[in-house]
């Protein structure tokens, strides 16, 4: 390949921008995690490890486990819904048209999508009004402000992010392989598990990551429909940042969130690499 004289010139703006507005802020957060809270917010330049004590507090641990629990539940439900949906679209004669049906909610404002569920599940929302009219219930059910509503609505907002990468990979999949497997005597479900699933694994991994990581960092959904019962990590970070103004503590929890998602990311990437090696053999 021919090298051109101006070399890395093109990448200079990119390097500068991402270094200044991404790397440096992250480094500041990571270093604040080891500093002391100032008297009126802000920080004092005194090294300490006491911000990390929060990770041993039962209240914090409860929120951490709840965040992981909600994110895992959301991911499982989303992927279970997304795989067959993406499969159906990829096998349809009307791919483009059906794909648009997925892209419209994907491009509909995130908060509007949350709001639409509030107007369904609220105490005088659509569902309660409907059930009371029918005489099935007498007093409104409390459908919002719990873990269930957070899971439901997070699935709703992340489903397009899972369907689109799955569609991309299923669309490229060669379905004659499944036919070949069946000709060789595999049952439907064997062909599905042993031929189809391994081949779309990278799509599943992407779908899982696009669902799990944003869920771990949720802020708006638990804030709007979670009430006090479903507070997540993002909410306590925001609380320490804006209300108690304990920035070192907010930084320490953010650092941990970065750590948890990075570990998840590394595990997935390793699993994918392994499965690739297996299928290459």
């Amino acid at each position: 390949m021919k090298k051109i004289s101006s070399g890395s010139f093109y990448s200079i703006p990119l390097t500068l921008w991402m270094s200044v507005f991404f790397v440096i802020p992250m480094l500041i957060v990571l270093s604040y995690a080891f500093l002391t809270k100032g008297t009126y917010g802000g920080v004092q330049m005194i090294f300490t490890l006491k911000n990390f004590n929060v990770f041993f507090e039962p209240v914090f641990l409860k929120i951490l486990f709840r965040t992981i629990y909600i994110s895992v539940a959301v991911t499982i439900i989303t992927v279970i819904l997304a795989v067959p949906t993406a499969y159906f679209i990829a096998r349809s004669r009307f791919k483009q048209e059906l794909l648009i049906l997925v892209i419209i909610p994907f491009w509909t404002n995130f908060l509007i999508r949350i709001y639409s569920w509030i107007s369904i599940l609220g105490s005088n929302g659509f569902l309660n009004t409907f059930l009371m009219k029918l005489g099935i219930i007498e007093t409104p059910l409390k459908l919002l402000y719990n873990t269930g509503s957070v899971i439901l609505i997070t699935v709703y907002t992340s489903l397009p992010f899972a369907i689109l990468p799955l569609y991309a990979i299923i669309e490229k999949f060669d379905f004659s392989l499944v036919e070949a497997a069946r000709d060789l005597g595999a049952t439907n479900s064997q062909a599905f598990r042993k031929v189809f699933l391994p081949n779309i694994k990278s799509g599943i991994t992407t779908a899982i990551l696009f669902t799990f990581i944003p869920a771990m960092g949720s802020y708006a959904i638990p804030k709007l429909v979670g009430g006090t019962q479903a507070t997540m990590l993002g909410n306590i970070i925001a609380q320490h940042l804006t209300v108690t103004r304990n920035w070192p503590l907010a930084s320490a929890i953010s650092a941990m969130l970065i750590l948890v998602t990075s570990v998840a990311l590394l595990l997935f990437m390793r699993a994918e690499k392994k499965s690739k090696e297996v299928s290459d053999e």
């Binding site: 991404f22 802020p25 500041i28 892209i103 709001y115 639409s116 107007s119 998602t261």
Partner: protein, 257 residues
């Protein structure tokens, strides 16, 4: 066939799941009353939205300004960066790959938090500038990856042919590389615009008082639970996103040609 029926079932389930809530919003937006009981057809919430909701339109204007400026900036930086990463070898390439990949995979709240802390440290006043910086930062990686994937399909011999025929570097960029990248640049720009228009979490942290974007305005309307104007606004936004989706399809066809 069995599998066909199962997948059809899940597809229908997903579509009901997607569209039922949106449909209910549309219906409520024409409701005369404030609550969820139907009290007759009315356009009054639309009237209120279009005539008496100055702060919504101000937020809309801010979203538009920031969206366009940050999309233009990130498209420029991202496209140049993609060309640089794809065709040149340099020392810090791995560093560059990591710092452009990471923002895609860490939760967006982290970017908001870390930028807020940095802006406070350097005493930059929060407002339109800080929102613009934040949006450009999360947009750049998306533009970069869209353009990079197009470059991956690109036949390098065309560039070499241009050089052999005597084009200099600038001419090659302008007459060969950029035209071939146009579809990707357009999708990157549109993606950035959408992300910017949609972002709540990062903006929430870096927006100062008095610089509300549309999502921030919607958020405070939902929290206060004020009036069904938010229904009318939602319908307007849903219609806009449908129009946008359909138009980009035809836009892309136009540019791919």
């Amino acid at each position: 066939m069995n599998k066909r029926r199962t997948s059809l079932f899940f597809f229908i389930l997903s579509m009901i799941f997607f569209y039922l809530p949106l449909l209910i919003l549309v219906i409520y937006s024409f409701n005369e009353g404030r609550s969820s009981t139907w009290q007759g057809f009315s356009m009054k919430w639309y009237k209120e939205l279009f005539l008496y909701s100055d702060n919504i339109w101000k937020a809309f204007k801010y979203s538009l300004i920031i969206g366009i400026l940050s999309s233009l900036t990130s498209t420029l930086i991202g496209t140049l960066g993609a060309i640089g990463i794809h065709w040149y070898h340099f020392k810090h390439k791995n560093y560059l790959k990591v710092i452009t990949f990471l923002p895609l995979v860490i939760p967006d709240i982290i970017l908001g938090v870390s930028l807020l802390i940095m802006f406070a440290t350097i005493k930059l006043e929060l407002g339109l500038t800080s929102i613009f910086i934040a949006h450009t930062t999360f947009n750049i990686p998306f533009v970069l990856f869209i353009v990079l994937s197009r470059l991956g399909e690109f036949d390098y011999s065309i560039v070499e042919a241009a050089y052999d025929l005597g084009a200099n570097e600038f001419q090659t960029l302008k007459k060969v590389i950029l035209p071939m990248l146009t579809p990707a640049i357009v999708s990157g720009f549109l993606m950035a615009l959408t992300l910017s228009f949609d972002d709540f979490v990062t903006t929430f942290f870096v927006a100062g008082p008095g610089s509300s974007t549309l999502p921030l305005r919607i958020y405070s309307m939902i929290r206060l639970g004020v009036s069904p104007v938010v229904n009318a606004l939602s319908v307007l936004l849903i219609v806009l996103s449908i129009a946008f989706t359909l138009s980009t399809k035809s836009l892309q066809k136009y540019f791919v040609k």
